[in-house]
Amino acid sequence: MSAARKPLVATERAALILQLVPYLVGKGEVSLTEAADEFDVTIDQMREMVEKLTVIGLPGEGGYWQLPHDLFDIDWDLLDAKDIVSITNTVGLERAPRLTAREAAALLAGLQLARSLPGVRDSDLVTGLLAKLARGASAAPAQVIVAPGPVDSVRDVVDEALRRAVAVSFAYNAPDAPATTRTVDPVTVHIANGQWYLQGWCHMREAMRTFHLDRVSEPTLTDIPSTHGGDQVPEAFAGLEDEGEVTVRVPERLAPLLSGFLPAEAMEPANGVVTARLHLADPRGIKRLAARFGGAMEVREPGVARSATREWAEAGLALYHQPDTQD
């Protein structure tokens, strides 16, 4: 799964072998490829681990070398001929180890986020799992808690559309654009930083589009079967039509705040200032982000984006302008 597979250090390998024995016992026979994939290692690393396993065993008695049945063993013919691993003798470790506190913490926090999904919400399933994970850990995991978000009827309708595999239609209010009515084959609901996005095939645009669920209103289920439900969704930063590029500058210490908007490659740090290029459907839309940074972000180019930002701040300030005060 991970792109870069590094060489294993001794303790990592030991940790994996503790998990490997119960896995192999449970599987019976498993291909090297499948096992390597499950353990996030290369096929060669998996072969090496399996071979190492066969020199592990119980201590020999009274100074004698270990006897074959005191060692782990595998079906060598099967491994040599077909790259299939099958464990033929075990001398312990058959049961999976307890979760470490860190493993339990990572899963517990994930579960709390999963709890906010409409189909899962407040089910006994989550409560039961939280208790089981805590009990299956070797030490108390650090509490990493995700606060539940608000319950929302739009999410429920979209969830229903996903389950029934039908298109959903709704009014969509993109910022600074007139409202449109969209019919969409739902593919994925993407949840990041507490924001919910529907990604799906837009019948009007005849393309994959991403919709912020806060901007969706009056959702209704259609009886049109979804024909794009299995499609690939575009990468997080792609998929916008008629993209315009905007160049901004922020102090380097604030740059992490931009990570949700663009890939790290698009940022150039120099002398404590980061120059970043963002892609927006309408370059003028940068005014909202710039105002959020309150002067810490400077919109450089294009000129229309820069002047839109100035006008945005000016119009905002005008609301507070009283006749008897002077700025």
Binding site: L58, G119, Q143
Partner: protein
């Protein structure tokens, strides 16, 4: 690895002497004349790294003199090592756990989650249809997160520079960190601030430098229930702090704010936990929203809009 197998197979434990003479890995070196001192050091090191992997190792001393470890015996208590036999998972639970394990965008958290899942999957439980249609993500943009989490796991006091908005320089805080809480899409650490002798919640984004995990430890039982306590505290703040806003109907501000607010006579009332976090958001809406009260929120929004204007003044 031979050491684990040997220590698990024994009921009564093995003495260090026995281990060094018979367990493969030590035995070969023993036979080729390695010094006992070097082998004992190697054994101590191996023992520690196994404990680091979560393998419990018991030391059974001489009952007559528990401090005398020369004749101590060592073993791995199987019951504490293995996932308890009575913990089983249903196919639906495994499907949900698979989803829960996929949420981390940070490499180390996601490796921990996958490793935990592997142990559970090794129990050989069939899996339900995967839960499709959702890709929840928890992103960790705050550089302080890993160090704070480590300090919690090890129950150690952490020291970090904390910059409160409006102050010119960060101040060093000395804290017993008890729980990490994501609230309104921001990570907070809840803990006991030793400088002011009180419980406090800190925004991770305001930790502006390296977190030092000190050697000073605290009682791990202080962590119990800390997450719920932190959450309740934040909820309490949100319940007592509200801003009165006028929003322009049909705008982005109306869409985003109205769902979190309650209608009021003059506009809407929006609960919030942090003046600056709220002011950042409200400033982004420009002329779509006007803050009626409280004054501190209004002033912060005006300050942001003025600074934005000043920065782009030359634009025509």
């Amino acid at each position: 690895m031979n050491l684990v197998v040997a220590l698990m197979a024994t009921q009564h434990g093995l003495t260090k002497d026995h281990i060094l003479r018979s367990v493969s890995g030590y035995r070969e070196q023993w036979e080729s004349g390695a010094s006992k001192d070097a082998l004992e050091k190697m054994f101590e090191r191996d023992k520690e790294s196994l404990r680091g992997l979560g393998v419990p190792i018991d030391t059974i001393g001489d009952p007559a003199d528990p401090d005398d470890l020369r004749e101590a015996r060592y073993r791995v208590p199987t019951a504490e090592y293995a996932l308890p036999e009575d913990i089983t998972f249903t196919p639906a639970e495994i499907a949900l756990l698979n989803l829960a394990g996929s949420v981390w965008s940070s490499e180390s958290m996601s490796a921990d989650a996958r490793s935990g899942l592997r142990k559970i999957r090794a129990l050989g439980i069939p899996v339900d249809e995967p839960i499709i249609g959702y890709s929840p993500r928890i992103s960790l943009r705050d550089p302080a997160f890993p160090a704070i989490k480590r300090a919690i796991e090890q129950s150690r006091v952490a020291v970090f520079p904390y910059l409160r908005p409006g102050e010119d320089a960060p101040r060093s805080r000395r804290v017993r960190p008890l729980a990490l809480v994501e609230y309104e899409a921001r990570w907070h650490v809840f803990g006991y601030d030793l400088t002011i002798d009180a419980e406090r919640t800190f925004l991770l984004s305001r930790i502006v430098g390296d977190v030092e995990v000190t050697r000073q430890s605290f009682d791990p039982s202080l962590r119990e229930g800390a997450g719920e306590k932190a959450l309740a505290g934040l909820d309490r703040v949100a319940a007592t702090h509200t801003a009165l806003l006028e929003v322009h109907p049909g705008t982005e501000a109306a869409l985003r704010l109205q769902r979190r607010a309650t209608p009021a006579e003059q506009g809407i009332r929006l609960p919030y936990v942090d003046v600056h976090v709220l002011a950042d958001e409200l400033a982004s809406y420009g002329p779509e929203v006007r803050v009626v009260e409280p004054p501190e929120v209004r002033d912060e929004v005006i300050r942001r809009l003025r600074a934005t204007l000043a920065r782009h003044e030359d634009a025509s």
